[in-house]
Structure formats: structure tokens, C-alpha cells
């Protein structure tokens, strides 16, 4: 005999494994066993095959690889005797899953066993098929299973029924074959058969609408009667569970009635009586009874309306909710979520109890309850509910705070009655759990703050207080730093006091202290520090007396290892040092951020598509120097790749910084451009000029400036190769022109339309037409100016008109604001919008563009989409 042959019995092996003191010992024992089993496998040892497989199963359970045993299963299954087959099928189900190829080899053995004369062998095969069948096997063996649904022994019939569930789940097309056999199974008395047939029936109904109709017509009445009999049946010890006759059967009956009654008044009518009977007669002092009641309530909620029953159901839920058993409370909360759509008022009555559940010690219950509260909040109860939740935030578990803050913020945002309340609540949340809130939350808060002009002073003072007490919460720090930077003067001078406020005395130095503490705090991340730098720059102009101190703080970041901080601090330092004259204009207060655009952006309505037709180029991340997260290089790189992002993130930071000074240079040169167009010019410059490579060198250039102060500043700035700085300098117009002549709409360059390109009808429908007029600047063949003209041919007015366009990567697209967002009807006017496309592969590829036009027609959202590929070839 083979020296490795497995002489140890299963029991001995288990004992040996259990005797192991360490994991290493266990591994050694397992290794030895595996070796001997492998040897037996290669010897094709017949005597101990079943024992070896049993051992392998145990080893498998311990988590060791046992793939070499898979073929042994097949051999055992193919053996003639019942004992071999029994262990073989067990091994098959345990060691393999439906995705393994080996499984295909077993199809034939299964087929033979399904036709075996021994009903227990048939049972084994059905069980294995039901548990691990793949779609192919299901298709191959469905006829056998279907036949077995009529087998003489009920125990085979019930197995066949469950096996059929697996089959129709894998291959829904086969469902119709099972409908008729199931209908006859539903008439049986044997509980096992009935149980499984009902289950199969339910699954058939979900995959096939026809089956549902069929069963609804043919079987509803019969099933109602079965349930009635089950409810009224006398004591039967075989099926009795704590005084209830076969709760499993009752639950399944209730479930199938729910499916049949849903959306069908007649069927629902049939079951009303029996549901009322179940709901009133079932004992609720044991779990089994509650399980039935729970199912019954769900059925009542889903079938067609019957007022009386619903009241009954809601009352049961009320009883559940006040139960001391956590399980029952959990399911009650679960069910109330579903009930809320049916009867919101009734659920509102339990609000206080539900709120208590949010504070439960059990995480599962808390989570359910919180979700339910979220659904319960409305305008009338938002204030007290929010207060409760925020109060609870203080004492809640760490790992629950994330969920909780997300919910509170979303409630507050959705339903806040006044801005001041919104700001107050958000501050509370941030103070309690500022480290748990998502970025969108504090971004949103800043948008709201900028929009409530009369509350600026109040907010900045509240934030100043908040940061004193909760300086460890990142989000508080960020919002406070931002606001102090913007509204530092309001803080120090107590401007815009509200009646309810207590006055505080803050000196300029105190305000700078806060920022300094924030930038030096070791837990502050890049974003926070970058925000601090901006705030300092802004404060340097608001608090002239602290100017030197601020400069010192900024200087400390010059040596930062983070490129972004280093670059910014060097730039800001040179602004502080050399450009006093334009600093105040540079750091003017942020313009009000547009809430609508922001919420639209959050809703993801503008995925990577440039849209400026709202006429407001100031997108949200503007004031939120989130854009500083990534180095400028990255941003521009990004915008080169994806023109769509151009005016969303990249240049906005610069817009933010320089929006003001463009204005000043414009006014200096005598033209009175509104700020908007000022930033537009900037946008233009950024989106067309300064390819990424140049920007990469700009850091070095700046460095060279600060080292070489002898150079005249104009020279130095010219070497920056960033046109924006040149324009800041307000050098003589001619030099601007030199620099800018490649870049479209500078005021000195006339916009000559090049007549070489005929207008193109880019989009034409029965009601709307879009015409593109092309022009090019001489000397820059890769840039095309497009003037889009929209005309409305229908008689209705289109409002909220938005044009969006996207281009492939080799193109860069810039959209300017549209002339209007309302398009009058009957061709009585048009919207024009300018686009500028830069073709990086000019001469090789021609333009293509995807467009989307959305508008509202009588308050109904309309959407047109299209692709334009018939541009003139040489654009």
C-alpha cells in the first residue's frame, strides 16, 4: 500500500487539527493530510475516496485550497452506490461554485441521477442542481426537473419545485413551461409541496407578466382558502410553532397574495376578509406570530386600498414600535418606511418614538430610524426635528456621525425656512462634526453665506466664535478662514449687527491670529492652508496695520514642500512687496456666487460640458479655493485635455485672483468694461494662450524675479509668458496688442469676419434652428470663432434656454455667455452665442462637435441633442 495512503480516519484528522496549538502546527497537519490525499488521488484509490473527500471538505472549511479534490467529487457522483453519491454531491456543492468549468462535466451524471429509480438519489441530484446550477445546466436539465414536478413522492416534488426556481432565475425564458405544473401543485395538501410551489409561483410571477395574470385568475381564490384553512386549523403538532399552525406556510401564502393583489382590485377584494382575520387573530407574543403579522402588514400595504385594513395595519406597526424587543422595533421601522408613501399622516404620529430610536444603542435600529426621520421631515417640523438631531450629534457614536451629519445637512439644505437658520444650523453641525462632513456641504454653506449680504457680519462673527471653541474641526476652520478673509473688516468693526447678537471686540491682530493658527496647525491639509494664504492676502489689504505681520506669515510658506503652497506664497509675497497699488483691487470681495448654478452643478446636470448661456460666467468653485487643491499646471493640463472643463475649475482660481485687477486695468485704459467681460477676457487668455509647458516654467520664472530684482518689473513680467500678468501691468496698448493679437476679443483687435467660410446650419428641427457663422483671425489658423444663432420657429417662447457643446480632445472649446436665455417665438428674435474652437491638429483633422440644447417650453423641460460633423474641412 502507498505509504501516504490515508489511513487516518476523518475523526482522527479533525482531532489532530483541533489539537494544534498554533496556526503553523495546523498548517503542517493540513499539509500532511493534503499530501496523502493528493497521493491517493493520483493512485486513483477507490476504497478511501469518500473519506478523503470528507476530509477535504473539512480542510476547505478551514480556508485551505482544495481544488485538486474537485475531480474526486465527479468520480464519486458517477459511482453507482448511494453512499458515494451522497458524499460526492455534498463535495460538489461545497467545493465548487457555478462558475467553475468542471461543473459542466457533471451535467451528464446529474441527468442520469434525475432519472434514477431510487428516489433518494433523485433527491440528491435535485438538491445539487438547485444549489449550484449554472444557466447552461439549467437549460439542459429543465425537462427532467419539469417531469419530476409530477413525481409520485411528495418529497421529490418539493425538491423539484425549488430546483425550478433556480432554473427560471438562471433562464427566465423557461418560465412558461412551469406555469401549468405549478398550478396543479398549488392544489396539494402536503405542506412541503405547498410551501415550495407557492415560492415557485411567486418567482414565476416576478419573471413573467403572463404567469402573474394566469395565477391571479386561476389561483387567487384557492390560495385565499388555503390561508383561511391554515389560520383556522386545529392544533397539529407536526407543524405547530409556539401555538401557531405552520407559520412558514402562512407567511408564504401572505406573500403570494401580496403579489397577486398588487395593482388588482378584484383580487385584493377576495383576500380582504382573510387578511383581516390574520391581522386580528394572530398572537403577537412570540416571534412566529410577529413574523406573520409583519408579513400581513406588508401585504395590506401593497394590495389595493381598503381603508379599514390599513388602519389595522398601522395599529399593528404602532404596537410593534413600542415593543421592548429590538427585533420587533427594527421591523416596525422598516415597515413604516414603506407605509410612509401610503399613509404619511399615520406615520407622522409616531414621530417622537421614531426619534427616540435614532438614539438607540443598537446601530441597526439607529440607521433605520435615521432614514425614516429623513423621510418624515417637512416644512412644518423641520425646526424641532433638526434641533433634536443636532443635539444628538453631540453624544452619538463616532462611526454614526458620518451618516448623521449627511442626513442633517441634507434636511437643512432642503427645507430651511430662512437663511439665518440655515447658517446657524450648519455652524452647529460643523462645530460638532466638522471632520465628518463632505466637501459639498461646506461649499454649499459658503455659497449661501455670500448670497445673504445682510448676514455677512453676523456670520463672520459667529464663525470667529466657532473657531475659538471648535478649532479642531476642519470644515469649521475652512469656512471661518474663508469668511474672515472676505469679511474681516465686518468682524473687526462689528458691522451689520443683528439685534440678537452680543457685540464682541476683535482686533485686527486677533483675526490674523486665527488664520495664523489655522495655517500652522499641523492637522491642516493643503486645501485649508491654501485657503489661509488667500485669506491672508485679502486681509493684508483690509488691515493695513497688520500688513507686515501678514507678510511674515506668508513668507513662512515659501519653503513649503508642497509646490502649490510654495508657489502661491511666493506670488503673494511679490504682490505684497511690489504691487501695493493694485493690491486693493486685486483682493476685492468676491462677487456673489450663483446658487442656481451651484445647485445645478451639484445635481450633476452639467457633466463635463461647458455652459455659459446663463450669462453668468462666475461658476461656483470660484470663491472656494478648492481649485487650489491641484497645482495650476494640472488644472491647465486638464483643461487642455477637456475643453469642457475650461471655465469650471482651472482658470477660475485666476479669475478669482485677478478678476478685480483686470477691471482696474480696463478702467485705467479708459474703457468701462463691466467686470463680467473683464473676467471673460481673462478666460479667453487662459483658455487659448499659455499652453501647459509654459506654465510649468512659470514657477521658475517667478523665482528668477524674486532673485533678480534689478530687472525692470515689466521685463520680468514679460518673461513670465503669462499674458494675464502683462495685462495687469497696463503697459501701453500696443504691447498688449502684440501679445494679444492671437487671442480674440481684445478691444483693440477688430473682429473681422472671414468670408471664406459659408454659414452652416448646425441643427434644424421643426421648431428650432441653429446656424453657425465662422470667422478666423489672420495669423492663427487653428482658432475658429463661431457665432451661433438660435432661432425659434414655433409660436411659443422658450425659457431657460441653455446651449451646451462638447468636443473631442484634440479640440479646445470655449463658450461665451449667450445673449439671452429666453428665445421668443415665431422667429421674432434670436439668441446669439460665441464659441471659440482651437484645433490642435489643424490641417489634419476637421472639427466635430456634439451639442445639447435644453430649454423649457411651458415649464416643460425639453432637450435636443445632436452631433455636427459637416464643418468646413479646413477649420
Amino acid at each position: 500500500m502507498n505509504p501516504f495512503s490515508s489511513e487516518t480516519r476523518l475523526r482522527d484528522m479533525i482531532r489532530a487539527i483541533r489539537a494544534c496549538k498554533t496556526a503553523a502546527e495546523e498548517r503542517a497537519v493540513v499539509r500532511k493530510e493534503c499530501a496523502s490525499i493528493r497521493a491517493a488521488v493520483s493512485d486513483n484509490d477507490n476504497d478511501y475516496r469518500h473519506r478523503n473527500l470528507a476530509k477535504l471538505m473539512f480542510i476547505h472549511m478551514l480556508g485551505y485550497p482544495t481544488h485538486f479534490g474537485q475531480m474526486e467529487c465527479l468520480k464519486l457522483i458517477a459511482a453507482p452506490g448511494f453512499p458515494e453519491k451522497r458524499i460526492g454531491y455534498l463535495g460538489l456543492m461545497l467545493l465548487l461554485d457555478e462558475r467553475q468549468e468542471v461543473l459542466m462535466l457533471v451535467t451528464n451524471s446529474l441527468k442520469q441521477d434525475l432519472n434514477h429509480t431510487n428516489q433518494y438519489i433523485v433527491g440528491l441530484a435535485l438538491c445539487a442542481l438547485g444549489n449550484i446550477s449554472s444557466a447552461e445546466m439549467a437549460r439542459d436539465l429543465a425537462p427532467e426537473v419539469e417531469r419530476l414536478l409530477q413525481f409520485r413522492d411528495p418529497n421529490v416534488r418539493k425538491k423539484a419545485a425549488l430546483c425550478s426556481i433556480r432554473i427560471i432565475k438562471k433562464v427566465p425564458d423557461l418560465a412558461e413551461n412551469f406555469v401549468n405544473p405549478v398550478a396543479s401543485l398549488l392544489k396539494e395538501k402536503h405542506h412541503g409541496v405547498l410551501l415550495t410551489a407557492i415560492q415557485l409561483c411567486a418567482d414565476l410571477c416576478t419573471v413573467s407578466e403572463e404567469a402573474l395574470e394566469y395565477f391571479r385568475k386561476k389561483c387567487t381564490e384557492g390560495l385565499v382558502k388555503v390561508l383561511k384553512d391554515a389560520v383556522n386549523s386545529p392544533y397539529a403538532p407536526e407543524y405547530d410553532i409556539s401555538g401557531i399552525a405552520d407559520p412558514f406556510l402562512q407567511i408564504r401564502l401572505l406573500r403570494i397574495l401580496r403579489i397577486l393583489g398588487h395593482g388588482d382590485a378584484d383580487a385584493s377584494d377576495l383576500m380582504n376578509d382573510v387578511l383581516a382575520q390574520v391581522a386580528t387573530k394572530t398572537e403577537s407574543n412570540k416571534n412566529a406570530g410577529n413574523a406573520i403579522l409583519y408579513e400581513c402588514v406588508e401585504t395590506i400595504m401593497s394590495i389595493e386600498d381598503s381603508g379599514g385594513l390599513r388602519v389595522l395595519a398601522i395599529n399593528i406597526l404602532g404596537r410593534f414600535l413600542s415593543n421592548r424587543d429590538n427585533n420587533i422595533r427594527y421591523v416596525a421601522l422598516n415597515m413604516l418606511m414603506k407605509a410612509i408613501s401610503v399613509d404619511g399622516q399615520a406615520v407622522q404620529r409616531h414621530r417622537a418614538t421614531i426619534l427616540e430610536c435614532v438614539k438607540d444603542s443598537d446601530a441597526s435600529i439607529r440607521k433605520r430610524a435615521l432614514e425614516l426621520v429623513y423621510l418624515l421631515v417637512n416644512e412644518t417640523n423641520v425646526k424641532p426635528l433638526t434641533k433634536e438631531l443636532i443635539d444628538y450629534l453631540e453624544v452619538s457614536d463616532q462611526d454614526f456621525k458620518g451618516d448623521l451629519t449627511a442626513r442633517i445637512c441634507s434636511i437643512v439644505e432642503k427645507l430651511s425656512p430662512q437663511k439665518i437658520w440655515y447658517i446657524d444650523q450648519m455652524l452647529k453641525v460643523l462645530c460638532e462634526a466638522g471632520n465628518y462632513v463632505k466637501d459639498e456641504v461646506w461649499h454649499g454653506l459658503i455659497v449661501v453665506i455670500t448670497n445673504s449680504t445682510n448676514l455677512h457680519g453676523y456670520t463672520v462673527r459667529s464663525l470667529y466664535r466657532a473657531i475659538q471653541t471648535s478649532g479642531d474641526q476642519e470644515a469649521v476652520v475652512r469656512v471661518a478662514v474663508w469668511c474672515i478673509g472676505e469679511y474681516g473688516d465686518l468682524l473687526v468693526n462689528n458691522i451689520g449687527m443683528l439685534d440678537l447678537e452680543e457685540p464682541i471686540t476683535v482686533t485686527e491682530n486677533d483675526a490674523v491670529d486665527v488664520i495664523e493658527a489655522a495655517i500652522k496647525r499641523h492637522t491642516s491639509d493643503l486645501t485649508t492652508r491654501a485657503m489661509c494664504l488667500i485669506a491672508l492676502l485679502k486681509l493684508s489689504s483690509r488691515f493695513p496695520s497688520c500688513s507686515q505681520r501678514i507678510k511674515d506669515i506668508v513668507n513662512q510658506s515659501k519653503g513649503s514642500l508642497l509646490l502649490e503652497l510654495q508657489q502661491r506664497s511666493i506670488e503673494f509675497d511679490s504682490i505684497l512687496e511690489k504691487h501695493q497699488n493694485l493690491r486693493s483691487a486685486l483682493v476685492e470681495r468676491m462677487p456673489v456666487l450663483d446658487e442656481a448654478t451651484y445647485s445645478g452643478r451639484r445635481a450633476g446636470s452639467l457633466p463635463a460640458v461647458a455652459s455659459t448661456s446663463q450669462g453668468n460666467p462666475l461658476q461656483i468653485p470660484n470663491g472656494v479655493p478648492k481649485t487650489m487643491d491641484a497645482p495650476l499646471l494640472d488644472l491647465l493640463d486638464l483643461s487642455a485635455d477637456e475643453p469642457a472643463l475650461q471655465n469650471s475649475s482651472g482658470p477660475n482660481f485666476l479669475q478669482d485672483l485677478l478678476g478685480g485687477d483686470i477691471l482696474s486695468s480696463a478702467s485705467q485704459s479708459g474703457t468701462t468694461q463691466p467686470q463680467k467681460s473683464g473676467t471673460d477676457v481673462l478666460l479667453d487668455l487662459l483658455s487659448t494662450g499659455s499652453p501647459p509647458a509654459q506654465n510649468g516654467s512659470s514657477t521658475a520664472d517667478i523665482l528668477s524675479i524674486s532673485q533678480d530684482n534689478n530687472k525692470t518689473s515689466v521685463d520680468a513680467l514679460n518673461s513670465l509668458s503669462s499674458p494675464m500678468v502683462t495685462s495687469v501691468q497696463s503697459t501701453p496698448a500696443s504691447s498688449i496688442m502684440d501679445l494679444l493679437d492671437t487671442f480674440g476679443p481684445s478691444p483693440t483687435v477688430p473682429k473681422d469676419n472671414d468670408p471664406a467660410y459659408p454659414p452652416l446650419v448646425a441643427f434644424e428641427s421643426s421648431s428650432l434652428s441653429l446656424i453657425f457663422n465662422f470667422s478666423k483671425q489672420p495669423g492663427s489658423p487653428q482658432i475658429t470663432q463661431i457665432e451661433a444663432t438660435f432661432t425659434n420657429k414655433s409660436s411659443d417662447i422658450y425659457t431657460d434656454f441653455i446651449f451646451q457643446a462638447a468636443v473631442p480632445k484634440f479640440l479646445q472649446l470655449h463658450l461665451e455667455p449667450a445673449s439671452s436665455n429666453t428665445l421668443p417665438g415665431s422667429g421674432n428674435g434670436s439668441i446669439t452665442q460665441k464659441l471659440r474652437v482651437t484645433n490642435n491638429q489643424h490641417g489634419k483633422k476637421s472639427l466635430v462637435m456634439r451639442i445639447r440644447i435644453s430649454y423649457k417650453l411651458n415649464n416643460k423641460d425639453m432637450l435636443e441633442e445632436g452631433q455636427i460633423s459637416n464643418f468646413p474641412r479646413d477649420l
Binding site: K158, A291, N326, N334
Partner: protein, 161 residues
């Protein structure tokens, strides 16, 4: 539908696993690790349900063993508790006041019984008596085959003497 059944000891050792939905071996061990971490750490008075990856896991502790079943969100948790109890009672009847050791040394028997209670993640029999009878019949079939084999080998052994 029950997606899988797990029996985990209080020390986190796996005593039985049955998968009715496809999980690869790697996923299986991940699932077991995750769930035993979640379930074993829960206090005794808490509810028997944990929400996990969009599913619900219903568990119940019997002595040193946790019986866990993973179900869909919309399934009836209370009923699954009853199913667990149903299975435990059948085990108890079969082994005669079952303990963890019974399930370790006769793990295959525990599987055989489970296969008579559940197929394809659905309950197949609500009568404990029927399950016990079916398992007993199959056991006796195995015994009979064994005896037969022994007697034949005896005959051969004697014949070759």
C-alpha cells in the same frame, strides 16, 4: 431568498458555510471575515439583524455558535429567525441535544440536514418530523450499503483463504 448560511463559533471559527448565490472563494473568505467581525462584536441585547452591503444578515446565537443567514432587503427578517430556529431544532433532535462538537465531528451530517431544510436558498420543509425521517432513511441506506460491502469483502476474504 437566502444567499448564504454561515455557522461561526464565538472565536470566529467557521463551522459550516453554504452558498446559494455565486461567490468566488476569495469573496467567500472576505465575506466571512467581514461578517464575523460585525456580528461577534454585537452585544447580547441588540436586534438580530445587521445591514451589510445592501443585504441583511439575520443571526442568532445558540450557546457558542452563531447561525447567520443573509437575505435580501425586502425579505422577512422575523421569518428567517424562525428558519434558523427550525434548523437548530432539527439538529437538536438528530444529535440529541446538539453541541458545537457534534457539528465539528459530524459536519457532513449538518450539511445533509441543511440540504433537507433549504434548497436554492428557499425553505423546503416546515415539518421537523419529515426532515428527521428523510435524513434517517438516507443514513440507513448508507449503513445498509456499508454492511453489504463488508459482508462481500468477508466472503471474498474467506474464499481466498
Amino acid at each position: 431568498m437566502i444567499h448564504f448560511v454561515l455557522l461561526i463559533s464565538r472565536q470566529g471559527k467557521v463551522r459550516l458555510t453554504k452558498w446559494y448565490s455565486p461567490y468566488s472563494q476569495k469573496e467567500r473568505s472576505k465575506v466571512i471575515r467581514e461578517l464575523s467581525g460585525m456580528i461577534l462584536s454585537r452585544g447580547p441585547k441588540l436586534c438580530n439583524f445587521v445591514e451589510w452591503r445592501g443585504f441583511k444578515v439575520v443571526y442568532k446565537r445558540y450557546a457558542s455558535l452563531y447561525f447567520c443567514m443573509c437575505i435580501n432587503q425586502e425579505d422577512n427578517e422575523l421569518e428567517v429567525l424562525e428558519i434558523i430556529h427550525h434548523y437548530v431544532e432539527i439538529l437538536d433532535r438528530y444529535f440529541g441535544s446538539v453541541c458545537e462538537l457534534d457539528l465539528i465531528f459530524n459536519f457532513h451530517k449538518a450539511y445533509y440536514i441543511l440540504d433537507e431544510v433549504l434548497i436554492a436558498g428557499e425553505l423546503q420543509e416546515s415539518s421537523k418530523k419529515t426532515v428527521a425521517r428523510l435524513v434517517a432513511t438516507q443514513d440507513s441506506l448508507v449503513e445498509a450499503a456499508k454492511e453489504e460491502a463488508n459482508s462481500i469483502s468477508n466472503i471474498i476474504a474467506q474464499a481466498t483463504k
